[in-house]
């Protein structure tokens, strides 16, 4: 079944799964996104009363016992999310993972892995000394256990690792999975991102940078991407996993093809640990690189899911970059982070899944909480209300601390 000339192999998406503050599966997340809903609410996972920001986008109603009564206790929440999303993706792809399992790769992007496990064990160590640490502390905390446990759960024995690139990890996993299939290193790649950062230390750390919105009296309307009055992002949690597959293999087994992975590119700013260069040069290169690989002119993009964190700097620079790349004719752009929160290493994959749903359904998701245009931005941000549009290609942008930029282009299956 393997194409004799790997470089000519095309890669398609045949399954998707998500878990987010908007819902426990992709249909629930997608319907909430296009309805203009939000998953942002006061924090319940810890007592946030003394914290600068007291709200976040938490996954609700999730019972990790679905992973097994014993097994789930040995997984940090970041791994639980990854496994749940991978199961949905594999089921929706109708994929038999017991067939040629050594040809199935797993790559999961995550910014920080099992941070809850790690930080809780540091507290234990402080309070009770080194001999009270759980033997599961290290395996639960290390970021690669998300792809490791996905592999165990679905029996995938091919290439397997995690990607840490702060907030581009989920997008990078998709780029690398597609590359692996094109190079003939795998026939299927279960790829995406996962994050469970709603912990005291991460909340305090982002707040210390001034990155979080502190509109504590109005969580639902706090996050305002591209709006004149934006004042920061909000932490979100969840996972999104995609099944990527060699196109010939997918056709041969009669799989439903959801989209083609047409292009992807990853660049570095090499500029500053957390700040962006004003011209967003690295993101420009990533967007152009993804378009070039896809063989699509800028005007072929019908929808752009922006990184759009709702920080002053991100949205200003990203808007400038969009104008640089698209010229006067910018596509409709939205940031779904006002609905999902900023899911960090999961964001690139979650937003890829949302962009693919937009492509499939011909519905462009809105940017929630858009009240006042920022005259410095001048984009069509699909304010507040979803829009119908037949589109043939979508783009999804991700940027991260460390200067990472990753851009994906998906097209309607030919």
């Amino acid at each position: 079944m393997q194409d004799p000339t790997p470089s000519s192999r095309r890669v398609v998406v045949t399954g998707m799964g998500t878990i987010s503050a908007l819902g426990l599966d992709l249909p629930a997340t997608w319907s909430a996104v296009i309805a203009g809903g939000t998953g942002i609410a006061p924090i319940t996972r810890f007592d946030a009363s003394e914290f600068p920001t007291t709200f976040a986008a938490e996954v609700k109603g999730f019972d990790p016992a679905v992973l097994g009564r014993k097994e789930h206790r040995r997984m940090d929440r970041v791994t639980q999310f990854a496994v749940v999303a991978a199961r949905e993706a594999v089921a929706s792809a109708g994929l038999d993972t017991s067939s040629a399992p050594e040809r199935i790769a797993v790559i999961v992007g995550t910014a920080m892995g099992g941070i809850e496990t790690y930080s809780e064990n540091v507290r234990t160590l402080m309070a009770h000394g080194p001999r009270r640490i759980s033997p599961f502390a290290v395996p639960m905390a290390i970021p690669n256990m998300a792809p490791g446990c996905v592999a165990i759960d679905i029996g995938a024995k091919g290439p397997n690792f995690a990607i840490a690139s702060s907030f581009t990890g989920g997008a990078n996993a998709i780029v690398e999975g597609a590359r692996m299939i094109r190079a003939g290193r795998a026939d299927v790649a279960v790829v995406g991102g996962s994050e469970a950062p709603i912990t005291p230390i991460v909340s305090a750390g982002f707040a210390a940078m001034g990155a979080l919105s502190d509109r504590n009296d109005d969580p639902h309307h706090a996050v305002k991407p591209f709006d004149l009055h934006r004042n920061g992002c909000v932490l979100g949690e969840g996972a999104a996993m995609l099944v990527l597959e060699d196109r010939q293999r997918a056709i041969a087994r009669g799989a439903t093809i959801l989209a083609e992975v047409a292009g992807g590119a990853n660049t570095a700013d090499a500029f500053h640990q957390v700040a962006l260069p004003d011209d967003g040069e690295g993101l420009v290169r990533a967007m152009r690189g993804a378009l070039a690989e896809a063989g699509i002119a800028p005007d072929g993009i019908g929808y752009l899911n922006a990184h759009g964190t709702a920080t002053e700097m991100n949205d200003r620079v990203e808007a400038a970059v969009i104008h640089t790349v698209f010229g006067a004719d910018t596509p409709p752009v939205s940031s779904t982070k006002a609905a999902t929160g900023h899911t960090l290493g999961a964001a690139g994959a979650l937003e890829a899944a949302i962009a693919i749903e937009a492509l499939r359904h011909g519905i462009l998701p809105p940017t929630r909480n858009h009240d006042d245009d920022d005259p410095g931005i001048a984009l069509d941000v699909i304010p507040n209300v979803a829009r119908k549009a037949r589109i043939d290609a979508v783009m999804s942008n991700s940027m991260g601390f460390g200067g990472h930029n990753t851009v994906l282009v998906f097209t309607r299956p030919a």
Partner: protein
């Protein structure tokens, strides 16, 4: 040293249009603060393991580790800058600078074609632990704005890119103790694919923290031979009782062959083949029979266009845990058959300790030095042979063998297996 003859091989050209060579190497670890010092210690069989000084380890089950010594980050990185870098980022920058200086590559002339990929198992652990302590003792509003960018595991990769001005592909491969082996392997693929002409690749780790030691102690993974630190890491020996936690960074400059030839670079060796597999079996135990690592070795040889008869040295994962070496030995026999008994192999973790995410890249550097000088490094602390580990682990004393192709294996919690095939400089054409 003992002498042994090696048979030179003449295998076919590798089955990839773009070959990838190594033009620079950098390392900092318990046995030395640059590659010449590290290699001198390794070929001499010197251990870098000693009592822990980075924190008060009184009351911990294990009180020794492989610490970097005499490293002054303020002097090397700047008085202000070093404070904004977790130790694992500091070590990565030091190793990357050494590698790039040796390569003599002018990154500024084409920065978008030079990538960076620094793997790490854990990232900024020391920063993370201090941050949690701050939240608990002083409240959330006292956490530093530098906490997040210091802690994240991708920041070594990001900081090295900033330091060097490298604007190409950049992320951190994370796969526990196989992280930097993945970083080298995935960089190989990226250069073959044409996504970059050069990548500064490797790993960095600074895990000698209270949680690092307590966490691995809780698993029973660390040696507790507190009365004999230098004798504690004894891979393949029957008396092995766990690995020795260690810190450091190792980075290589990987470059497309023609790119290196065109600029007249000195070629140190070739990254000839790579494969990665997963056991999909257990969170922390290697797969039964060494099946996953054996499959990685088979696939890496195929990727390199070589066979088992071409390999003259293996740098084993060899952590010094009971289970690892038993299963790794089974995996080697599965992949190499009877030839497994004829190939000298060693675990240099016997001297360096286990650098977790850095292990794969440090061992690649050591393997390249071994092929350059025709000296295979020993596995030290071999006292009592283990009948389950009956391969030739070059016990205690280095051996003069001119290897032209070597294999370096890495395995990580999570079931990750990586096998790299490295070629000596003599296997690379001087022009084409």
């Amino acid at each position: 040293m003992t002498d042994s003859a090696a048979t030179p091989n003449a295998p076919a050209a590798p089955p990839h249009a773009r070959r990838v060579v190594v033009t620079g190497m950098g390392a900092i670890c318990a046995v030395g603060n640059d590659v010449p010092a590290v290699w001198d210690a390794i070929r001499s069989g010197r251990s870098g393991i000693a009592p822990i000084t980075r924190f008060d380890a009184t009351g911990f089950e294990t009180t020794f580790a492989g610490e970097v010594k005499d490293f002054d980050p303020a002097a090397t990185l700047g008085r202000k800058e070093y404070r904004r870098l977790d130790r694992y980022s500091q070590l990565a920058i030091v190793a990357a600078r050494e590698a790039v200086a040796q390569a003599g590559i002018d990154i500024a002339s084409d920065p978008t074609r030079v990538g960076v990929m620094i793997g790490s198992a854990m990232g900024g652990m020391e920063t993370l632990e201090a941050g949690v302590e701050t939240v608990v003792t002083q409240g959330p509003k006292r956490v530093s704005p530098f906490f997040m960018p210091m802690m994240l595991p991708n920041m070594a990769s990001g900081n090295v890119a900033i330091d060097l001005g490298a604007k190409g592909p950049n992320f951190a491969a994370v796969s526990a103790c196989a992280s930097s082996a993945h970083a080298i392997g995935e960089s190989l693929q990226m250069i073959r694919d044409g996504r970059a002409d050069a990548i500064v690749a490797g790993g960095s780790e600074a895990p000698i923290t209270r949680m690092g030691v307590a966490g691995f102690n809780a698993m029973g993974a660390l040696s507790t031979r507190n009365d004999d630190p230098a004798g504690a890491s004894r891979p393949f020996d029957a008396g092995r009782d766990g690995f020795v936690l260690a810190e450091g960074a190792a980075v290589i400059v990987m470059e497309e062959l023609q790119h290196a030839l065109d600029r007249g670079a000195t070629i140190l060796g070739e990254v000839r083949g790579y494969a990665t597999t997963d056991d999909a079996n257990h969170m922390v135990q290697p797969g039964p029979g060494g099946e996953g690592i054996a499959r990685a070795m088979d696939l890496a040889l195929a990727d390199a266009g070589l066979t088992t008869t071409d390999i003259q040295y293996i740098n084993a994962h060899g952590t010094s845990t009971q289970l690892n070496e038993k299963l790794e030995t089974e995996g080697l026999k599965k992949a190499f058959g009877d030839r497994a008994y004829q190939i000298p192999l060693s675990s240099t973790k016997s001297m360096t300790g286990h650098l977790l995410g850095t292990a794969g890249s440090l061992e690649a550097v050591i393997t390249l030095c071994a092929m350059r000088d025709g000296i295979l490094p020993p596995t030290i602390n071999q006292v009592t042979p283990d009948p389950d580990c009956d391969l030739d682990c070059i016990p205690n004393v280095a051996r003069a063998v001119q290897a032209t192709y070597a294999m370096s294996n890495s395995m990580g919690f999570g079931g990750h297996n990586v096998s790299l095939i490295l070629g000596a400089a003599s296997t690379v054409p001087a022009s084409r």
